[in-house]
């Protein structure tokens, strides 16, 4: 046992000195200086100051631009504003009263707003020229809007979207809008009424246009087929007369037809003749129809009253009075 320990010690001494040192706790032959505690945090001057490296800024490109340069190649696409590329002394932004607005350099206001510097008139012209080779000429016979509407009553609208992203698909491209004049369907009164009830708020009374939008299918083609199906179905449904439609009564009428109401029979009974023979009946029937169709208001009541007075030959209220209000 004693032998073994001596052997070990000997072999340790043979090991390389630095390695031994590294594993040894004791201080080595040369004694290190004892470090003083820096309580006051006095700066150590041993670290040298870091030198700031200045980036080299080139002078703005606008300085070198020729007056007759091709602007379309300088600014080819949509891009946010860059002061060194736009050779215009633009100013924008808010300042204190009296001071001029900030100039274009480092101007966030100018960068925020969208610009159309890529769509200057000569550029548009050039692009149109380039697209012309893909277009077919406009038919000469279709020179007026009436002719266009007559021969092509249906108008289909859809949108294409251009992307430089990872996917070139846009979900909005599937939407198809169909638009046509109701007049071009040549429906009779009954069918028109039914058509309007089926269409609901898709009909615009002022322009006589029906607009159907389809976006329920994933592809444009499917939506297009669906829209055309809807148009066909609507047309044929409104032409069809169902047995229950014969049950439509006075109360279901969408407008007041004077000749079918008690008002007409009342007047005929009073005058004891057909209503066509009564003087002043047109004014009366118009007034009653307006009263019922337009709803009750001061104007329609007044008109109704005047019509009745002319019908029954009574004096007007103005004839008794010249009251200053």
């Amino acid at each position: 046992m004693l032998n073994l320990t001596r052997n070990l010690e000997l072999s340790f001494r043979k090991i390389d000195k630095p390695l031994y040192k590294a594993y040894c706790n004791a201080s080595q032959g040369k004694h290190d200086e004892f470090k003083a505690l820096n309580i006051r945090n006095v700066k150590d001057h041993s670290h040298s100051k870091r030198s700031v490296k200045k980036t080299q800024v080139l002078p703005p490109r606008t300085n070198q631009m020729a007056v007759d340069q091709d602007w379309g190649s300088v600014w080819p696409g949509p891009r946010s504003f860059h002061p060194a590329t736009v050779p215009l002394p633009i100013r924008q932004g808010y300042t204190e009263k009296g001071a001029p607005p900030p100039d274009k350099y480092a101007n966030a206001e100018l960068m925020k707003i969208p610009n159309f510097l890529h769509l200057t008139p000569p550029v548009i012209k050039r692009q149109c020229e380039a697209l012309k080779q893909f277009c077919t000429p406009w038919p000469k016979a279709l020179d007026t809007m009436e002719k266009i509407n007559k021969h092509f009553p249906i108008e289909v609208t859809s949108s294409d979207y251009c992307y430089s992203g990872p996917s070139i698909r846009d979900p909005m491209a599937r939407i198809v809008t169909l638009r046509f004049n109701l007049k071009s369907l040549n429906l009779d009164d009954r069918a028109k009424d039914k058509f309007l009830r089926l269409v609901g708020d898709r009909y615009n009374k002022e322009t006589d246009l029906v607009t159907i939008v389809a976006d329920r299918c994933p592809l444009r083609k499917q939506n297009m087929d669906y829209v055309m199906y809807l148009l066909t179905a609507l047309y044929h449904e409104s032409k069809k007369i169902e047995p229950w439609e014969e049950l439509k009564s006075q109360a279901d009428m969408e407008y007041y037809d004077w000749t079918k109401h008690a008002s007409k029979t009342n007047v005929e009974d009073i005058f004891k003749c057909k209503f066509e023979e009564i003087p002043g009946i047109d004014k009366f029937s118009d007034a009653v129809s307006e009263y019922m169709n337009e709803g009750e208001n001061e104007y329609t009541i007044k008109k109704y009253g005047e019509a009745v007075r002319t019908l029954l030959q009574l004096p007007f209220s103005k004839e008794i009075t010249n009251k200053p209000l």
């Binding site: 009750e296 208001n297 001061e298 009253g305 009745v308 030959q313 009574l314 004096p315």
Partner: protein
């Protein structure tokens, strides 16, 4: 010295007193002028024309007791009659318009119907009262219903009709109305020509023979309250026949006419079921009178929001209030709007209040009250309580 000053003082007071007297005299004259501007001495509505517009005329006491003894004037107005010690009505355009029409109507043609309409409290009932006064003085037989709402909304009692299956009678109300009719037309009913055209069998034992007078028929209705409702319907028919025969000229004036077409009454049948107006016996008679199929008569009705339930008071216009059936019943009628006070009318009513010492005079009160009341006579009457 003292003497002189005393004399001077006396002189000055003397001068002053003369001045005061003069001032008082001119003020009186001024007052007279105001009196003339808001009052009119013409108490006969027949003579009213556009010169009397916005002026007040007083109904003679004896006329008032005959016409409005059993109702016919709005409640608050009736209390003010007592306060002011006279019945003053303002000559206003709607009433004048209708009176003018009544003068020019060809009475050989079918009946003309007038409908007074307007916002609450603008004076529809009082315009009707003015027209009734005209009719009274021109010997019309007046069929006046003071307020249909009293029957449909506040019936005194009700019972099942004996003559018609499923109908309701309003016995006390009907008898009260017969009494009202009798008092209003006491003068005309003395005419022995007003006879009934057929024999009426009330029960097996009770009959009213042919050619008995209208008074007898009415008396029977009042005395035998069970038959009052039925009596009104028969009376309506008889009045139509008599008018067509030219024996009398009739004015039908119904206040709150739209109640006859408003389905939600407060008349209940045995099992608390609401009875619609067309199931009430009285309705038939008055609807019969407002038809156009007779002559020698005129019909003036008012349509009023107050006669229907509060939740349905959304519009004051005739088509809404009458409903489809009501409109078709009256069509063609002449709508006459009753509006609020104009500036001139407001001025004269304020002068009247001042003359009656109902309000204290102070500067700017007229403008203030016109603004506050928005020209509405009813609101004005309510507002002047505190001035």
């Amino acid at each position: 010295m003292l003497n002189v000053t005393a004399k001077l003082l006396l002189r000055s007071t003397f001068h002053k007193s003369i001045q005061i007297r003069l001032v008082a005299a001119t003020a009186e004259a001024h007052h007279e002028q105001i009196l003339q501007s808001f009052r009119t001495p013409v108490t006969n509505p027949t003579e009213h024309n556009s010169d009397h517009l916005a002026r007040l005329y007083s109904i003679p006491k004896e006329d008032k007791t005959v016409l409005f003894q059993h109702g016919g004037l709005p409640k608050i107005f009736a209390t003010h009659i007592k306060t002011f010690n006279e019945t003053c009505l303002m000559v206003r355009e709607p009433a004048l318009d209708i009176i003018n029409c009544l003068k020019t109507i060809d009475y050989n043609k079918p009946v003309v119907r007038f409908v007074l309409y307007g916002q609450k409290g603008t004076g529809k009932s009082l315009s009707l009262a003015h027209i009734i006064h005209y009719a009274y003085l021109n010997d019309y037989l007046i069929v006046h219903v003071p307020w249909v709402g009293n029957w449909m909304r506040r019936p005194k009692d009700n019972s099942n009709s004996e003559t018609k299956q499923g109908f309701m009678d309003l016995n006390i109300d009907a008898a009260a109305w017969l009494l009202h009719f009798k008092t209003q037309n006491a003068k005309l009913l003395k005419n022995p020509d007003l006879k009934i055209s057929r024999e009426i069998h009330w029960t097996k034992r009770e009959t009213t023979p042919k050619d008995s007078t209208l008074t007898e028929l009415i008396e029977h209705g009042i005395n035998r309250i069970r038959f009052a409702s039925n009596c009104i319907n028969i009376l309506a028919e008889e009045i139509k026949l008599l008018s067509c025969a030219g024996l009398c000229k009739t004015l039908v004036a119904i206040d709150g006419f739209n109640a006859f077409f408003y389905p939600k009454t407060r008349v209940f049948a045995d099992r608390r079921e609401i009875v619609p107006p067309n199931r009430i016996t009285l309705t038939e008679g008055f609807l019969n009178l407002t038809k156009f199929d007779w002559k020698n008569a005129a019909v003036v009705v008012t349509v009023d929001e107050l006669v229907i339930a509060a939740e349905d008071q959304t519009s004051h216009l005739p088509r809404y209030l009458l409903g489809k059936t009501g409109f078709e019943h009256l069509d063609p009628f002449i709508p006459v709007e009753v509006t609020g006070f104009s500036k001139k009318e407001h001025q004269s009513i304020m002068d009247y209040f001042r003359e009656r010492k109902w309000i204290q005079p102070y500067q700017g009160i007229d403008e203030e009250l016109y603004f506050l009341s928005n020209g509405n006579p009813f609101y004005l009457l309510d507002l002047v309580k505190s001035y």
